[in-house]
């Protein structure tokens, strides 16, 4: 991964001019590199990471990890069924796994009921799905490299030589 992407992955709001200062590259070169990565889909989009642990209320979503066992379809393998599953807006992530099950599907819903409804009425009845095991997430500590709590105060002395 190039340095521009490394900087943007840490802080998507860093402007090309700032990246230029940080790296010693020309701002124009950075702009065109970013544009190319956006066009090629290397940069998919810019999002804000929100610590939902801190804004929990009755409207916050619940999340579940669902292990899905599948009978693969001839010729198309797992991709066909994975696509049928990940198209549902309830699905926030979907991975093909090695081990005792095939797909790991992360589902988000308003409540435990909406998630279990989704599993029982949409996911489980699919022809190729042989079985599901649903795990609800109780508390998130760290997600995608970010620890979900307020940054700790700098503990160093204010000045030292």
């Amino acid at each position: 991964m190039n340095e521009i992407l490394e900087i943007l992955e840490k802080d998507a709001r860093t402007t090309p001019e700032e990246i230029a200062k940080l790296t010693g590259m020309k701002a124009q070169a950075i702009k065109s590199s970013i544009k190319k990565d956006e066009k090629d889909g290397v940069i998919l989009k810019y999002k804000t990471i929100i610590n939902k642990e801190l804004i929990r209320d009755e409207r916050s979503n619940v999340r579940a990890l669902i292990e899905v066992k599948i009978t693969p379809k001839k010729n198309v393998g797992f991709d066909y069924i994975a696509e049928r599953i990940y198209q549902f807006p309830e699905v926030s992530s979907c991975y093909l796994m090695s081990g005792t099950y095939d797909l790991l599907v992360v589902v988000e819903g308003k409540s435990i009921h909406t998630v279990s409804d989704f599993v029982s009425s949409k996911l489980a009845p699919m022809e190729s799905v042989r079985g599901t095991v649903t795990h609800f997430i109780l508390k998130k500590y760290k997600e995608d490299g970010d620890i979900l709590r307020q940054a700790k105060r700098d503990k160093r002395e204010v000045i030292s030589l």
Binding site: L22, G24, S160
Partner: protein, 383 residues
């Protein structure tokens, strides 16, 4: 009751007043901190926790755990092809500060002189005095990129000159030396038969060229006391682990003092240091990349504000000139603190040749640095 005349005559730090001012103030953005803003990598912290669970709470041998000395020996061999015997040529100390003190006391007799390039790290002068010697300062300035040359050494030597201290990359200026520049210096060191105390604690934070340990230069290993440690490379300041590598005649004398004053460095810190050497390289490199980016931002930012700043080759300090503000170092630092709540260290803390400059530490995250630059700009506009 009378107390030590020697200690009494050491002047109190000239910037104590400024420090007290800083400590009494709230919501300060500090660019005045001489230690990494990263916490020690988790694997290292975890190794220390595990060592406690295992009940490693005893003394170690005076020189430090043999395994750690072995690890250091291998590390230096791998990294610099530098060959030190872990049995007789390596000593683990409580930070480089202790190592520096030991080195001075091991080599000096009353009245000996030690050359110290200025601006210098605050403890050098007083420790030389305490060891019964006299520091001889070699002034450097921004025109010379804060570096000394062989000529400077020859000019400042007399028959009482015992050795020289070189700290590169340098605190406070960030200046470092290329291999070529060091070679030139080494010729003067031979010519005057000096002992080199080489403080290379920031060696891993060298950005523009490969760091060259002084002891790797021809004929230098036999007269170099190489000081290094874990504080800066692995963000381990609070662990207090440094080390000395030097010929046996130096190490055995230093060990004598160390065993009576310190006994040994803390065992849990030594075990943590082993983990740092084993699995810490990736963290060091990641921190270095981050410091380097901040350096670019700080140096270009300061120069844009008219605070001329030579590009530091290493460490995490910039040492810009503040002469364009028309203020002295101390007034600049005080004014900036009072009006804009940005803390930095006046250059005079590091000797009189630091007048006209301030030390800015970029061991602080990018948003702090950006905000500090905005505030400095606002401060300068009012002048």
């Amino acid at each position: 009751m009378k107390t030590s005349k020697l200690v009494e005559q050491i002047p109190p730090s000239g910037i104590r007043v400024f420090f007290d001012l800083v400590l009494g103030m709230k919501d300060v953005i500090s660019l005045g901190i001489g230690e990494p803003d990263f916490v020690t990598p988790w694997n290292v912290r975890e190794a220390a926790i595990f060592s406690l669970e295992e009940g490693h709470t005893s003394y170690t041998s005076n020189k430090g755990l043999f395994e750690l000395r072995q690890d250091i020996s291998r590390h230096l061999d791998r990294k610099y092809s530098l060959d030190y015997d872990p049995q007789d040529e390596i000593l683990i100390t409580v930070g480089v500060s202790e190592a520096f003190d030991l080195a001075l006391r091991a080599i000096m007799n009353k009245g000996d002189k030690i050359l110290v390039p200025e601006p210098y790290y605050v403890s050098y002068g007083p420790l030389i005095t305490l060891a019964g010697g006299t520091p001889v300062f070699i002034r450097t300035d921004s025109d010379k990129a804060f570096k000394i040359t062989a000529k400077d050494i020859l000019k400042h030597c007399d028959k009482k000159t015992k050795g020289i201290v070189l700290n590169y990359p340098n605190n406070p200026t960030g200046a470092s030396y290329t291999k070529k520049e060091l070679k030139a210096i080494s010729r003067a060191v031979i010519k005057r038969d000096l002992i080199m105390i080489s403080d290379e604690i920031y060696g891993d934070l060298t950005y523009d060229f490969e760091h060259t340990p002084f002891a790797t230069l021809p004929q230098m290993k036999e007269r170099t006391i190489y000081l290094n440690g874990f504080s800066k490379s692995y963000a381990m300041t609070g662990w207090r682990i440094g080390y000395v590598c030097a010929p046996e005649k130096f190490v055995s004398l230093m060990t004598k003092i160390h065993q009576y004053t310190m006994l040994c460095a803390p065992i849990m810190s030594q075990l943590a240091a082993r983990e740092a050497l084993k699995n810490g390289e990736a963290s060091t490199q990641e921190m270095k990349r981050e410091y380097r980016r901040r350096r670019e931002l700080v140096v270009s930012g300061l120069n844009e504000l008219g605070l001329t700043c030579h590009k530091p080759e290493g460490a995490f300090y910039a040492f810009p000139s503040i002469k364009s503000s028309g203020l002295s170092s101390m007034d600049f630092a005080k004014g900036l603190l009072k009006e804009e709540r940005v803390a930095l260290v006046p250059g005079t803390a590091f000797g009189p040749s630091g007048e006209g400059c301030v030390r800015i530490s970029y061991a602080s995250n990018l948003s702090n640095i950006k905000e500090a630059l905005v505030r400095i700009q606002r401060f300068l506009r009012k002048r």
